[in-house]
Symmetry: C2
Subunit: 462 residues, 2 copies
């Protein structure tokens, strides 16, 4: 069996790897001159940084196994020493790092927030991540924005600010952009909202030593990856597929796995064209809006102030930060996320203005010592032609109930893979790998019965 | 000056026409083997029908002028004799055709509906269609779905049903799909919700004799239109553009007008890639979901029953119908719209099942005489590779406030045109023509100062 995989991100590589294991002949077509997709290695002052996907969370078993299998190691995200700085209203509070998910606020705001989190949790637990549209009140939940739910269920400005900052941090989108049902689905797909926000025992628990992109690099070893080969068209029929590149080169195969973010999968031409529902689905799965920014300092000076480098703040452009200094602490590196509406405003500034705005945020959080980084690096994922937004796609109101059931099934000989297709750990590296493996299995399974049919037909003919 | 226009729909043709008038050399590249885009002529029993855009409303001055200029004529939509059939709850009511916008219901539902319409109207009048994001409470209005507003502001099932059926009829989308701000923008761009729904003095007032597509056909006369020429890539820079087709042919020009629906404009490749904000905008402008269905009968028999062929019903698949019989009434033709969620379910049926479902709707509305049409025609616009949904794009929550200001401005030498870009009569043929003309003017204006600059530089050099 011959399979073409479009896209050498984590899902495409995992699918390719798994297909090869099953004996298939695999070619991976990659638009960029590197593998990894939304994983990319960078460096600041000679130390490796993750320009894209970074963390492996608790329960991300496939990723942990893969890291071990590929001879790599993880380190814990800096979390133990020092406190998280939280500023949702006027007042700053410091929270023990290990318990950062719910900050200490004034009693009224705290009660409001606790009640909101409990309500959200109850709602989320009733959603089946395999088919969110199956919820008995799916249309009601999908007919409103997450913002509408926040306004109705949180009463205090700090409680609302917490949910909005959390939404930006988790979805790199604003609460107005999301269907409530999608927010619930995503939470339950990743255990719960608290896990999504947590470091220890949460989604930000571990980092790969050397950078997450090394996982993709090693996974690609032995695979036939064609670089700088953007795909223009996929012709498909009863007997096979032909994938044609923008340069006009054709690759014939039995099956194709399109391992692109949905919005990019929708930009290819298909012959015959995709069914209406599949095309309209990809029209409705926009990617989030996020840039990662890094500033390096001679030392992780914030640690001396009793801070662990983590911030959650209602005022931007940077609202969420992490300490991503090397384990040796030879230098200090702060990571700042610019997300959603903040990213849209920030993107249109000049490079010098963008850097200034980010450093200003760091100074606001960590004091004047943050004013003069020795180096600054930024990566705006929405500007990348072959990604067009991170971390992943989000579902606007109405989309899960209208098109959810056509998200995962293949269209004839065209199969789909990516973090957006995962039932568990949707949106994470773990979800991408699980989706890639599941899709490879789906491809293998569709061929096996056909071979059986062929064999039995042959015996009848004989 | 040389200009390439991508797309020979009404906006592209109007732009091409206007550019030629201004002395530009124009090539129009069209993916299909016909002009018209979302306008297409069809026939049933030898009589012409509009498979796509149909009506010219009151106030659509450019379209009326164009029809006259091109030697064409309009007829009034059948509306005078007979009554509109409305069924929003259990009870059917008949309403005078000329006053169809607000049905007579029980007093409680009527008061609810009247209050809802008045509230919506007040809200809409405060929105500036040129910049909906400028409304003082824009984020609040854009942070919720139209469905949320309907649930909050309408109390009776019939009142809510009216708004939902109206949403489907006007947007070919469900109230859950739309931002409240978008619903308000669209209403005010087209005068008000009542005008959008009305026939006489409304958006459905007139039809073009012979079909609306004839307007496109005649507008194309004299223009250099290249058929079956889908565009793959637009290279653009400081000195000009090169538009490359999927077949590899290149067209060099000073400027390019992309007159495609936004979701299709987002599928082209651009070199250099478009800025993040423009790309993310087109990721977030999905097209509506609609099919038009037609059944022909020996006579317009419903007229004898005192009905004018117009229906608004809360139960589908067909919820809205019109009498589109020829003026001579030689035969009777019913037009039935299948929209939003109804269209998504209906699309997946077999052709025979689809026809049966439509005819069943007609029988429910007009009795057993509707059971045996002499002919049946359907057109599903979401299945069309080079349209991918009608009538037009809709803005989900958060999109107007996040990306509204980058909708209309050109990106370097790339200009945009289409019904989605119109300030007035957005979404209609009138809006498409106005947008095409405005964009042509924008192109001409950007060249003029450059020529002036060149001239003055020359004189300095001399």
């Amino acid at each position: 069996m011959k399979v073409v995989v479009v896209g050498a991100g984590l899902a495409g590589l995992a699918a390719g790897h798994e297909l090869r294991r099953a004996g298939a002949e695999v070619v991976v077509l990659e638009a960029r001159d590197r593998v990894g997709g939304r994983l990319e290695g960078g460096e600041i002052e000679g130390f490796p940084i993750d320009l894209g996907g970074t963390w492996i969370g608790e329960g991300h078993t496939r990723m942990h196994a893969l890291v071990e299998e590929l001879g790599l190691e993880t380190v814990r995200t800096w979390n133990d020493a020092g406190k998280v700085l939280v500023q949702l209203g006027r007042r700053r509070v410091l929270v023990e790092g290990a318990k950062g998910a719910v900050p200490r606020l004034n009693p009224v705001a705290l009660a409001d927030l606790a009640q909101g989190l409990a309500r959200f949790g109850r709602l989320a637990r009733a959603v089946d991540p395999d088919q969110p549209w199956g919820h008995p009140r799916a249309e009601l939940l999908d007919g409103q924005t997450f913002e509408t739910w926040i306004r109705r269920n949180l009463r205090t400005p700090s409680g609302r600010a917490y949910f909005r900052v959390a939404t930006e941090a988790v979805f790199s989108a604003d609460a107005s952009d999301l269907s409530l049902l999608h927010a619930l689905f995503y939470a339950v797909s990743n255990t719960d909202l608290e896990t999504l926000l947590a470091v220890d025992r949460g989604a930000q628990q571990d980092r790969v030593v050397g950078g997450a992109a090394v996982v993709a690099d090693r996974l690609a070893v032995g695979l036939d990856v064609r670089f700088s080969t953007p795909v223009a068209m996929i012709a498909h029929g009863d007997t096979g597929v032909t994938v044609t590149t923008h340069a006009g080169e054709g690759f014939a195969a039995d099956r194709v796995v399109v391992a692109l973010p949905p919005t990019l999968a929708g930009r290819l031409r298909y012959d015959p064209p995709l069914p209406a529902w599949r095309d309209q689905l990809t029209q409705k799965l926009p990617a989030g809006t996020v840039a990662k920014t890094f500033a390096a300092y001679p030392t992780p000076f914030w640690r001396e102030q009793g801070l662990n480098g983590q911030v959650a703040c209602a005022a931007g452009p940077v609202k969420v930060t992490f300490d991503v200094s090397p384990a040796s602490a030879e230098i200090g590196i702060l990571l700042g996320f610019v997300e959603g509406g903040e990213a849209r405003r920030w993107q249109r500034l000049t490079e010098a203005e963008r850097r200034e705005a980010v450093v200003d945020s760091f100074v606001r959080f960590f004091g004047p010592q943050a004013a003069r980084p020795v180096a600054y690096v930024e990566k705006d994922w929405t500007s990348e032609e072959f990604t067009r937004g991170c971390y992943g796609a989000h579902f606007a109101p109405g989309v899960w109930t209208s098109y959810g059931d056509v998200l995962r099934p293949p269209v004839g000989r065209i199969h789909w893979a990516g973090a957006e297709y995962a039932v568990e750990w949707n949106g994470y590296m773990e979800g991408a790998v699980r989706s890639g493996i599941a899709t490879a299995q789906e491809v293998v399974d569709t061929v096996r019965p056909a071979q059986r049919r062929k064999r039995s037909q042959t015996s009848v003919t004989r």
